[in-house]
Amino acid sequence: MAGFRQLLQARLATQQQQFATHPDAGLLSAFAEDHLRGAERAGVVAHLARCDECRHILALLETVEGSVAFLVDTPRASGWGAGIWRWRMAAVAAIPLLALLAIIRLEPPQNRMNAVTPTKPRTLTPTVVQSPPSIPKNTPRQQDQIRLSMVTPPIRRERLSPEAPGQQLSDVLEPSAPQKMEQKNLQPAAQVSAASLPVIQLSRSAVLEPAPLSSEGQQQDVPSQTQPPAQQSKSAFQFARPTFGAIRSGFVNATPVASVAMTTSLWALDAPRDDVTSPESGTVARSTDGGKTWQPVTVSPGVRFTALCANGPEIWIGGEMAALFHSADDGATWIPINVVSGDTPLTGTITRLISPVPDRIELQTQTDQRRTDTWVSLDRGAHWTKR
């Protein structure tokens, strides 16, 4: 190819001509400024292709400060009106692009994920409003429980539908990097009878902790149980501050909600924060009307709760100073749990509670900013092992 290029160079040189007349300075400068069109431009181009002198002039113009290639706009382009005028066609062209973008954005993200994970047996889709009729409303949890692990779903309104037991919500909703960072501060998973799930407004850092229906399928009162008040201490946790729509109605006015458990009733925990001093901080609330109204539940006066989880009718609540309470009847009665492994008692604040199966309960404590301990019980809190 090099030989052919040399050949071209030689033949081009022979075809250069010596012109008697040249384009005047006006035409050349207009060409350099890209103001020529049509036949005029074609004439100048044809001349330049054969006239090394005029090409040399153009090359010289390149060396001058503020080369002609970058000179000022034509007067047509000046003025406010002209500015709008110039962008009108571009704006029209941009409309379909923006519309397409908007359509893509409006499509729920889960739908998109479902499209790419068709093999998954169960999906959580906000578009499904009705629960499958094949699932009786009061069916116990064993068929259609889903375990919702720590997730930080985006703000949206959705209804969960049961289709595949045991699937992690995190399998469906992949949290973003910042969300993953927040996960360690969030609440553990719980099991839920999805057929009974109400419509619920999820907030960015709220955690779904659904609980199954009670076997009776009826709402139950929440009696308080007197417990020795645990010593209050300053929480080291930094929970996010979601706005749980239903809670706005009365219980915790704009105070943070760290976790929510759903059974026939909804359970919510107003997680304590260092930067928020609220009387409701660290308390538990319950809603029996799908989240429209909330009633505070006094499990143990003086104890600030920091973690909540549910598995069927079994509700677990943990708090500061190793306070742990268990209800096996959807909050009707509460039993304090003494967590000891051998001679080592549980200390610190319970930060996570996980009950993947009814008999198994796992908790995590944070004794200081760095250290986290995990405790596991396989017999509903009777015996514990520290890991």
């Binding site: 190819m1 010596q18 012109f19 300075a25 890209d34 002609v68 007067p75 047509r76 519309a99």
Partner: protein
């Protein structure tokens, strides 16, 4: 439904564009440009031009893209003092700077700028007693600043060309690529002929690209700036032209009876073996009437 809506919006815009273009006739556009420069017919005395003269210029140069510059140049050419005051403020120093950047020598630049300034002012008079100014040839197609740059470059090249005519012939001949002649060879003649035919078939813009790149040795970026195209676009186009030319020459050689292998070998011939037609070189002196002064 969205498509319908979009088409209707697009159609409305196109129709309104057309209407707007018709409303903004060239005359009005020119008048608007003059107005922005403070040179409306009502204030024409800014440059020493009368209303009639400005109106006449608008009529005479409806396609002037830089009407304000045109008014200034014409007012200067007519010898109006306010216009010259303005011109000196705007361009006197720039003129010298352009010359310095092109000539790269202060004394030459000063001489070039002074000479040009004299031409612009007009040292000769026509039969009416009016000075003949170079500014009279400014038509407002491009900016006055760009035009001034161009006449500086033109003047510099003219002087260089005048000086070059005094250099020995052998030096100037050696400066041309591919003029070394060797022993005449029918096959090389065939190759030269095929190449010339392929070059003739090129579009003018393609030939200009080749000339910029292969004859002038300009970089892709420089060519891109001159032609207002992106560097990568120029590179792609050059490659395309080169491949097309090679195929065309190859086909011509095959049509002339050469085997595929022989044609390929010939395309890689050392260019110094080429017999250059001296007559073609001498034809450079041929006069064309593409542009008349």
């Amino acid at each position: 439904m969205f498509l319908k809506w979009y088409i209707s919006i697009g159609a409305k815009v196109i129709v309104s564009d057309a209407a707007q273009l018709s409303r903004m006739s060239l005359e009005r556009e020119a008048a608007q440009a003059a107005s922005e420069l403070g040179c409306t017919p009502a204030s024409g005395d800014v440059l020493g031009l009368t209303d009639t003269e400005i109106t006449e210029l608008i009529r005479q140069f409806p396609a002037a893209a830089f009407f304000g510059d045109l008014l200034l140049a014409r007012a200067c050419a007519l010898g109006r003092e306010p216009a010259w005051d303005r011109f000196l403020v705007l361009y006197r120093e720039k003129l010298f700077r352009f010359a310095a950047q092109i000539a790269k020598d202060d004394s030459i630049a000063r001489e070039l700028a002074d000479s040009l300034y004299a031409d612009l002012f007009g040292t000769k008079q026509n039969c009416d007693g009016r000075r003949i100014s170079k500014l009279d040839s400014f038509s407002g197609r491009g900016s006055l600043e760009g035009w001034l740059r161009t006449i500086v470059a033109q003047e510099y090249v003219n002087r260089y060309r005048r000086e070059r005519k005094l250099t020995p012939l052998d030096e100037s001949v050696h400066g041309k690529p591919g003029v070394l002649s060797g022993a005449p060879s029918p096959s090389l003649d065939l190759l030269a002929k095929a190449t010339d035919e392929a070059l003739v078939a090129l579009a003018e813009e393609e030939r200009l690209l080749l000339s910029f790149y292969y004859l002038d040795g300009r970089s892709l970026a420089e060519i891109g700036r001159t032609l207002h195209r992106h560097e990568s676009s120029i590179a792609r186009r050059l490659e395309k032209i080169l491949n097309s030319l090679r195929k065309r020459v190859f086909q011509s050689l095959r049509d002339a009876g050469l085997s595929r292998r022989a044609a390929n070998e010939m395309l890689e011939t050392d260019v110094r073996d080429l017999q250059i037609n001296v007559r073609a070189l001498l034809e450079q002196e041929r006069k064309t009437e593409a542009f008349s002064k």
